[in-house]
C-alpha cells in the first residue's frame, strides 16, 4: 500500500488561492519561453519558427485556465522576439518596419487564442449547468405530477374495485379480487415512497460528506452480521462548497457504487473516503486495502461487473474524470475529479432563481 500512502501524504495543491495559481502558471510559462529560447539559439532557428513555439506556450498557459498569466507570457514573448531574436537576424542592425507588423500579429493571435479558450470553457460550463437545471426541474416535475395525478387516480380506482368486490357473493372470485386489491395497495405505497425519494433527492444542496458517511455506515451495518466488517472513515479537506443537488446526487451514486464494491467484494480491513474541496477540482477518493480488482477486468470493464461502466458513464455525463488504480493484493483506489468550474458555479444561487421562476 506504499503507493497509496505516498499519494496521501503528498502536499495538496487543492487549496491554492487564485493569485498563486496565476503566478504559478506565469512562472511555468516564462520557464517554457526560456527553454525554447535556449533551444532556438542552439538550433539556430528563425524568429518565425521561434515565435510559433512561443505561441504554443501561450496556448498551454491559457488552457490551464490562467488567462492573466497567458497575456503576461505573450508580452514577454514579444519583448524577447523584438529585442533579442530579430536583431540577431537582421544583418544591418536596422529595424525592419515589418517587425512591428509581426509583433502585432503575434499579440493578436495570442489574444484570440486565449479568448477562444476562455469562451469555450465558459460555454461547456454553461451547457453542463443547463443540463443540471434541466434534470432538476424535470425530476421535480415528474415527482409532482406522479403524486398529484397518477397516485390519486389509483386511489380513486381502488374504491371502484372495492365497490365491485362488495357486489360479489362470497366465494373464489371475491377472495381472488380481495388478494389482488391488497397487492395493489402495497404497490401504491411503494410508488409513493419512490416518488418521495425522487423529490427529496432534489431538495437540498451540499452534505456530500454526510451523505457518504451515512451510506458507508449503512453498508458497514449490512456486513456487521458477518463479523468481518471493514472500518470506514470519511475525511474532508478544504472548505465545503455548495454543490448542485443533481451533481451531488450523481457523485453520491458513483461513490455509492465504489463503496459497495469495496464493502462487498474487496474483503478490505479499512475503507476510506476522502473529499477535497480544492481550488481547481472537487476530488473524491475511495480507497480500500482489500484484494484489488483484476487488472484485466479493470481494463475491459466487463459489462455489468462491479458497475464500472456505469460509473464511467455517469462521470462523463457530469464532466468529471474517473480514475481507478488497483493491483492484486494492494487494494483499490477510485478517484473522481470534477473541475471546480463545473462543481461549484452551478450551485445554490442559480437553483434559487430557478425555483423562484418556476414558483417552487
Amino acid at each position: 500500500m506504499n503507493r497509496i500512502d505516498d499519494r496521501h501524504s503528498s502536499p495538496d495543491r487543492g487549496h491554492m488561492p487564485a493569485f498563486w495559481h496565476a503566478a504559478r502558471q506565469f512562472v511555468f510559462g516564462v520557464a517554457g519561453l526560456a527553454v525554447i529560447t535556449v533551444a532556438a539559439l542552439r538550433l539556430n532557428l528563425q524568429p518565425g519558427a521561434t515565435s510559433l513555439l512561443y505561441l504554443i506556450v501561450v496556448v498551454f498557459v491559457s488552457l490551464r485556465g490562467a488567462f492573466v498569466s497567458s497575456i503576461g507570457v505573450s508580452l514577454i514573448a514579444v519583448v524577447g522576439l523584438n529585442f533579442f531574436f530579430i536583431p540577431r537576424f537582421s544583418s544591418t542592425g536596422d529595424r525592419n518596419p515589418l517587425d512591428i507588423v509581426a509583433t502585432v500579429a503575434f499579440l493578436t493571435t495570442a489574444g484570440v487564442i486565449t479568448a477562444m479558450v476562455a469562451r469555450l470553457r465558459k460555454l461547456t460550463e454553461a451547457q453542463l449547468s443547463l443540463r443540471f437545471e434541466e434534470r432538476l426541474s424535470e425530476r421535480t416535475r415528474i415527482a409532482r405530477e406522479l403524486h398529484d395525478t397518477l397516485l390519486q387516480s389509483f386511489q380513486g380506482l381502488m374504491l371502484h374495485f372495492q365497490t365491485v368486490n362488495d357486489l360479489l357473493p362470497p366465494g373464489e372470485a371475491k377472495e381472488t379480487l380481495e388478494k389482488a386489491l391488497d397487492r395493489a395497495d402495497q404497490a401504491i405505497v411503494e410508488g409513493r415512497e419512490a416518488i418521495q425519494n425522487l423529490r427529496s433527492s432534489t431538495t437540498s444542496t451540499n452534505g456530500l460528506s454526510e451523505a457518504l458517511t451515512s451510506l458507508g455506515e449503512e453498508l458497514a451495518g449490512a456486513r456487521d452480521s458477518r463479523a468481518d466488517s471493514a472500518t470506514f472513515r470519511v475525511s474532508m479537506e478544504g472548505t465545503p462548497r455548495e454543490l448542485h443537488p443533481i451533481l451531488r446526487d450523481d457523485i453520491c451514486r458513483i461513490a455509492g457504487e465504489a463503496l459497495r464494491n469495496a464493502f462487498r467484494h474487496a474483503h478490505a480491513n479499512s475503507i476510506e473516503a476522502e473529499i477535497t474541496y480544492g481550488f481547481h477540482i472537487l476530488r473524491l477518493r475511495i480507497r480500500d486495502d482489500g484484494k484489488g480488482i483484476d487488472p484485466k477486468l479493470l481494463q475491459a470493464g466487463r459489462d455489468g461487473h462491479w458497475g464500472l461502466p456505469g460509473m464511467r458513464e455517469r462521470a462523463q455525463e457530469i464532466g468529471a474524470r474517473l480514475d481507478i488504480w488497483s493491483e492484486a493484493g494492494a487494494g483499490t483506489e477510485v478517484e473522481l475529479s470534477i473541475p471546480s468550474s463545473i462543481a461549484y458555479t452551478t450551485s445554490a444561487a442559480k437553483i434559487e432563481s430557478w425555483q423562484e421562476r418556476s414558483g417552487g
Partner: protein
C-alpha cells in the same frame, strides 16, 4: 342496520375527480349513507357545508385555493358540531396534529379507504373519534419531541428549496450566525444527522410540504 333511521348525509371534498367518483361509487352501495354534495377545494367545501349541513364531511388536506385545514377551521368555527373525517396520503405526525387541532374527528389514509371508510363514517357519525393504529403510532413516536418554532419551520422550508445559509439569512433578514443557530436547533429537535436528513424527516412528518 335498521332501515327506519335516516341515512347519514355526507359531503365529499377532494380536488381529484377520480377519487370523488370512487367515494361516490362506494357510498352508493350502502343504503345507510347518502352523498349529498361534493366540493373540489376548501372554499367550495365551506359553501356546500352551509347549504347542506351534512352529518359527516370527508375532507382532503392538500387542495388548491384553500386547503383542508383552513376549511376545517372555518367550518368548525361556524358549526362546532361538524363531524369531519380527514382523508389524506400523508402520515406525518405534525400534519395529523394540525388536522386534529383544526377539528377533525378522524384521520384516514387514502391507502386504507376501501377497508376503513364505511366503518369510520359510521363511528364518527355516532359521535366517536377515530385514529388508525398506524397514525397513532406515528403520533406516539414523536409525542415527546420538541416542536419546531415557526421560524425554524421557515428555515427548514428554505433549506428544502435548496438555499445555502447565506441566502436564507438574506431572505429572512437575519445574520448567517442566527441561521446556523436555527439549523442546529432543527437538527437536534428532529434528531437529524444533517440538512438533507432534516428535510427528509420534515417531509415525512408533514412539517413541510413537497
Amino acid at each position: 342496520m335498521s332501515t327506519d333511521r335516516p341515512p347519514i348525509r355526507i359531503l365529499s371534498v377532494d380536488d381529484h375527480p377520480l377519487l370523488r367518483e370512487g367515494v361516490a361509487a362506494l357510498l352508493a352501495r350502502h343504503p345507510d349513507m347518502i352523498l349529498v354534495a361534493e366540493a373540489s377545494n376548501g372554499r367550495e367545501a365551506i359553501e356546500q357545508f352551509r347549504k347542506h349541513r351534512p352529518d359527516v364531511t370527508l375532507m382532503d388536506l392538500q387542495m388548491p385555493e384553500m386547503n383542508g385545514v383552513d376549511a376545517m377551521i372555518a367550518i368548525c368555527g361556524e358549526f362546532p358540531a361538524a363531524r369531519i373525517i380527514v382523508l389524506t396520503t400523508y402520515t406525518g405526525d405534525v400534519q395529523v396534529l394540525r388536522a386534529l387541532k383544526a377539528g377533525a374527528r378522524a384521520y384516514l389514509l387514502k391507502g386504507l379507504l376501501r377497508k376503513e371508510l364505511l366503518e369510520t363514517i359510521r363511528l364518527v357519525h355516532a359521535g366517536q373519534k377515530r385514529i388508525l393504529p398506524e397514525v397513532a403510532a406515528e403520533l406516539a413516536e414523536h409525542a415527546t419531541d420538541g416542536t419546531l418554532s415557526s421560524r425554524e419551520i421557515e428555515v427548514l422550508r428554505l433549506i428544502a428549496s435548496g438555499n445555502a445559509n447565506k441566502e436564507i439569512a438574506i431572505q429572512l433578514s437575519i445574520t448567517e450566525e442566527t441561521v446556523k443557530g436555527h439549523i442546529k436547533n432543527i437538527l437536534a429537535k428532529l434528531d437529524a444527522n444533517d440538512r438533507t436528513h432534516a428535510v427528509t424527516i420534515g417531509l415525512k412528518r408533514g412539517i413541510i410540504d413537497l
